[in-house]
């Protein structure tokens, strides 16, 4: 499955996308693409080879889901998620697993996203939990040394932050003293909170 998936990725990287109608039951990508003469559909763009080769050990999310289905199901049960937001320390312990630039463990990242959605599923009924989670996200973002952690946390605030002036002001303040990428994300979050 992995070889097939990586093979498909390389094929896709060569620019072969299925747009023409496919009558066959099996996916036949390259056979149905109308390509300008002289263009070799199998030739990858020069810059992808080393990039893809470096990712051979890196699973796709689909593979990760398949390999870790049971563990993931257990990790995102309501009672497990609720425990992360019972107090500030529990929330921050989870967020402490956010690492620089895409290195966050997949299970932790999925749990964080799941907590964000758990507090928002019943935003009024889980108001305390939502406040605890949003505060922890903002504290983690403000104290982070690297931009990516700030971006990650602000991205979660985008989905669950309360539309209140105090939170918007706090996000704006963080944006103003940060790099452009973080400032841009802060701006996105503030506009989302002001709806």
């Amino acid at each position: 499955m992995k070889k097939a998936l990586i093979g498909m990725t390389l094929l896709a990287a060569a620019g072969c996308v299925c747009t023409a109608p496919v009558e066959a039951e099996k996916p036949v990508e390259t056979a149905t693409v109308a390509v300008a003469p002289g263009k070799d559909p199998a030739a990858p763009y020069d810059d992808y080879g080393p990039a893809m080769a470096s990712e051979k050990g890196n699973p796709m999310a689909v593979e990760w889901h398949n390999q870790n289905a049971a563990a993931l199901d257990a990790a995102v049960k309501d009672d497990v998620l609720a425990a992360f937001v019972k107090d500030d320390a529990s929330a921050k312990a989870l967020l402490a697993q956010v690492k620089d630039a895409y290195r966050t463990d997949a299970k932790a990242a999925i749990q964080i996203a799941a907590v964000t959605q758990w507090v928002m599923a019943k935003p009024d009924a889980r108001k305390d939990a939502r406040m605890t989670w949003t505060k922890a996200l903002m504290d983690t973002a403000e104290n982070a040394k690297c931009d990516y952690v700030k971006l990650f946390c602000l991205d979660q605030v985008r989905w669950c932050g309360c539309p209140c002036p105090k939170l918007a002001a706090r996000v704006e303040k963080l944006g103003k003293k940060s790099s452009k990428p973080v400032a841009d994300m802060a701006d996105l979050v503030v506009r989302g909170l002001k709806k």
Partner: protein
Amino acid sequence: MTNRRDFLKSAAALGAFSIVPAGVLKGETAPSNQLTRAIIGFGGIAHSANHLPFKGSRLIGLCDPDELHVKDGLACAERAGWGKVKAYKDFMALLADNSVDVVHICTPPHWHGCMSVMAANAGKDIWCEKPMTRTVGEGKRVMEVVKARKRMFRLNTWFRFQDTFYGFGTTVKPIRQVVENGLLGKGPIKCVFGAGQGFDWKFFWSGLVNLVPQKCPSTFDWDMWLGPAPWKPYHAHRTHATFRGYWDYDGGGLGDMAQHYLDPLQYLLCKDETSPVKIDYVGPKQHPDVVGRFDRITLTYADGTEVILDGDGTLKGEPLLRGANGTCVYKKGEGSTTLRIKDANGWWPDKKVVDQLAALPPPAAQQTDFMDSVRTRKPFCLNEQTGFRSCTMFNLAIVAERLGRGFEFDPVKLCAKNDPAADRFLFQALREPWQKEMFG
């Protein structure tokens, strides 16, 4: 704004002229009388039949934030017989060029909405790749501006009007006839999209967890490629041919195939003017950045009609359509010359299916020539309105994935019902300056 197309229409009224005599071109339309187009985004899809080699209009330019794509595009354009086309520095210069009549938007989906609005505001007609937009909020805005600016818009999928529908061995026309004429009985219809071809074969459009950022090539403008999407560290897998695996830009296999599958479904179910009211989700919780898989997504309309998206492959044997009186439509099977129908009494013989379909009135004719739409201003059949509705099916499905649960939707107000979490995904702000360009 007077553009070349308006000038040509006026010139045609006064008496046509051409720089190169038509006879020299062996009867083809002289270049100066042809509609012109430019391609924004010269990655993989730009090479496909409806873009680079399309002969219905003259290709005069292209742009891409990757210099390697621009170089490749210029060479391919010349080999395809377009001569030396113009390479624009960026798409805003392309939109400002009055010699361009139509823009082909071949960028990743996170750019589709903003570019469509900017193109409409620049007086261009638009041929946009699918999915039409990344969110419902963007789709609404595209509809508003295209209508206000009186632009022609078409989406780059076509199964509602041509070619055999995936895995069914037939066009959608006879299936629409079955639905429209009540052969399945009164009441809601259950539609399973796994019967012909589900989505599990497209799950290779998944992102990689735990990327290690790379140095961005000097030939690639990463910030421009990102455009309205949040800035995140560069990695080749997040771009170009594999962007689909990341929520910031698309929605995985669903993003790739949803409008190809769902637009003809919407058409044959006669649902072009509405949207589902309930979305149900079965599947794993999603990574916040990387698109994974889903098991099943069900979209239910107000009248009870269901469209079920098969992600785990368990519905392959199901009929495409099941109606209230027990009649089912199946794909064409071995030894059959037509789509198959079954009711309480068993399978209809092929001759009965053929005869019944022949006796039914055909569906209303569709406008299927976009260049003719551009010339006559008659809206294309898959325009910003019908395209918005089928794209909304996709947008609703990916919101359910990201929420990890179902929700309800108001197809008139075009927002979630009492669900602020869903609305956060349905309406997303863009990075500036693209927020202002798109929404004002």
